[in-house]
């Protein structure tokens, strides 16, 4: 593993660590770690650092939906053109071109179900290339970005063992 990959590995595990702690875990100098992170950011490899939130633990609920999008393209319009147009909406959390029965898989997040519905019917569906939308509201989240929600497994190991 090269040092870029090592730093990425540590950040992907937990991005909220001091440069010193990252340096310790990778046997590097903190200055070097700082440089690598800056470089990864400049190269647009590292696109951001965000918290993984279990919304169920909070009072105010967020509404999320996975939306299937079908599109028809013409000579002047490509998948990229459609994607760029949709991705610019802040409510769109993620957007992927996928194989299978539909073209795009879009994740939308909003403050209420009506906000999400309105967004899809008024902003997404009218896009000329989009021929069909199928919206799946998320009812429960069990795992997000590799983190399993729920109580977790207790550490029931003996406190001292040989």
């Amino acid at each position: 593993m090269n040092s870029r990959e090592e730093v990425l590995g540590v950040l992907r595990e937990n991005a909220r660590q001091s440069v010193e702690d990252i340096a310790r875990q990778t046997d590097m100098d903190p200055v070097e770690v700082e440089r690598i992170i800056a470089e990864l950011e400049d190269d647009e490899v590292l696109r951001g650092y965000k918290a993984v939130v279990d919304w169920d633990q909070l009072e105010h609920e967020r509404v999320r939906a996975a939306v299937e999008l079908n599109v028809t393209l013409d000579r002047e319009t490509s998948y990229n053109d459609v994607a760029e147009r949709i991705a610019k909406f802040p409510m769109v959390e993620s957007l992927h071109l996928v194989s299978g029965d539909y073209d795009f898989l879009m994740e939308v997040e909003g403050a209420s179900m009506s906000r999400v519905s309105t967004f899809i019917s008024e902003k997404v569906a009218p896009v000329p290339e989009i021929t069909q939308t199928v919206t799946h509201y998320v009812m429960e989240s069990y795992k997000e970005q590799g983190i399993v929600f729920g109580d977790g497994e207790d550490d029931d190991r003996l406190s001292i063992s040989p």
Binding site: E13, R24, T26, D27, E153, S159, I160, S161, P162
Partner: protein, 378 residues
């Protein structure tokens, strides 16, 4: 009823008293745990569950399910160049611990001498004694980073022993040995006609060089019992699944005892083991890389706080020298004042005096917190 003499000869585990102290206390962070903090990979657990659903609750063949032995043979060959025949030379056991016990009982006669490298795992000397052997404690040296050397073997008169028992990567020191370093030991074993019991349970956790098994060195296969298992690599300690690799007559002798005492290794665990070897290489690599990061963090922090620690290259332990002369007292005070548990080195033999074993089989957040507390304490 009176316990037999050989039982009386063995004192209770030195770790016991400390364990009782720690158990009485709430919210301690323990760096005293000798097993992974991960659970077994889900695929392996699911295979175990499925086997139960399918009613696979009978004994298996004494030597273990053939499918498992075949997979072990392929794994040992691919990974370490250990070529063993699944029908004649592989024995699946209830943990590596059983395999070690079988090796002693199958190959050691009363009065034989067993040279045991220390600091080492707590059970080797007792097992030698239970088998009627005389233990000869060979203390590796801090100056050698706790590796076994010809000089140390000679200094302790290990040439007169019948068996040499050691474990690398090592519990409790975190020491590892390269093929080159091992060849010195191999040469010594050949010269003095020693049988070698090589406990390689931490073989997957060697961070700075590839693990080499002594059995792959010239003239060693016929005099070595390789002991390994699923506990440490696949975080399956509670499932009790290990194995021994040995030449046919030795495997047969060990199986003779195994078939009358254990019958067969736990069936459910065997199904988990098959799946572990089949599909859990990525999970293993992920666990290894997490241990490795914690190891580097721990060693850096020790250095920064002035704790003198030989570079730990394997397993999930570091073995710093205790800043006080009395490591037991230090560990006890650390536990009471800062609620961090480490194990005094003497639990692993006299050679461990003045040292502490710190295990990094603990989540990163807890590990950092424990290190902060240790720093504050010293």
């Amino acid at each position: 009823m009176n316990p037999a003499e050989r039982v009386k000869q063995v004192p209770p585990s030195g770790i016991r008293r400390f364990f009782e102290l720690a158990e009485e206390m709430d919210d301690i962070i323990s760096l005293g745990v000798g097993e992974p903090d991960f659970s077994a990979p889900w695929a392996a657990r699911e295979a175990a569950i499925t086997s139960l659903e399918q009613g696979k609750t009978s004994y298996t063949a004494n030597r273990g399910r053939r499918e498992l032995r075949t997979k072990i043979a392929t794994y040992a060959d691919d990974r370490y160049g250990l070529e063993y025949d699944p029908d004649e030379e592989i024995l699946v056991t209830a943990g590596a611990s059983e395999a070690i016990d079988l090796a002693f009982r199958a190959l050691v006669d009363p009065g034989d001498t067993v040279a045991v490298a220390q600091p080492g795992f707590v059970s080797y000397v007792p097992k030698a004694i239970f088998a009627g052997a005389e233990p000869l404690r060979v203390q590796t040296r801090r100056a050698d980073e706790f590796r076994l050397t010809r000089e140390v073997l000679e200094a302790h008169g290990a040439g007169d022993a019948d068996v040499l028992m050691y474990c690398y990567p090592n519990n409790p020191t975190g020491a590892t040995m390269t093929g080159e370093e091992l060849s010195e030991v191999a040469e010594f074993a050949r010269e003095h006609d020693l049988t070698v019991f090589s406990d390689e349970i931490y073989s997957e956790l060697s961070y700075e060089h590839e693990h080499t098994s002594i059995a792959t060195l010239p003239g060693m296969r016929e005099r070595t019992v390789v002991i390994n298992g699923f506990s440490k690599a696949f975080a399956m300690t509670g499932l009790r699944l290990g194995y021994a690799l040995a030449p046919p007559e030795t495997a047969q002798a060990m199986n003779r005892i195994h078939q009358y005492t254990m019958m067969s290794a736990p069936t459910t665990a065997q199904y988990a083991g098959i799946e572990a070897l089949d599909s859990c290489a990525d999970a293993l690599a992920e666990m290894r890389s997490q241990y490795d990061r914690r190891r580097k963090l721990l060693l850096s922090r020790f250095e920064e706080m002035g704790l003198d620690c030989v570079r730990a290259r394997g397993a999930f332990y570091a073995f710093p020298a205790c800043p006080d002369d009395d490591a037991e007292q230090f560990a006890e005070e650390l536990l009471h004042k800062e609620r961090v548990a480490v194990v005094p080195g003497t639990a692993f033999g006299d050679g461990g005096a003045g040292h502490l074993r710190a295990s990094y089989a603990t989540g990163l957040a807890d590990l950092k917190e424990a290190l902060d507390r240790i720093e504050r304490f010293i």
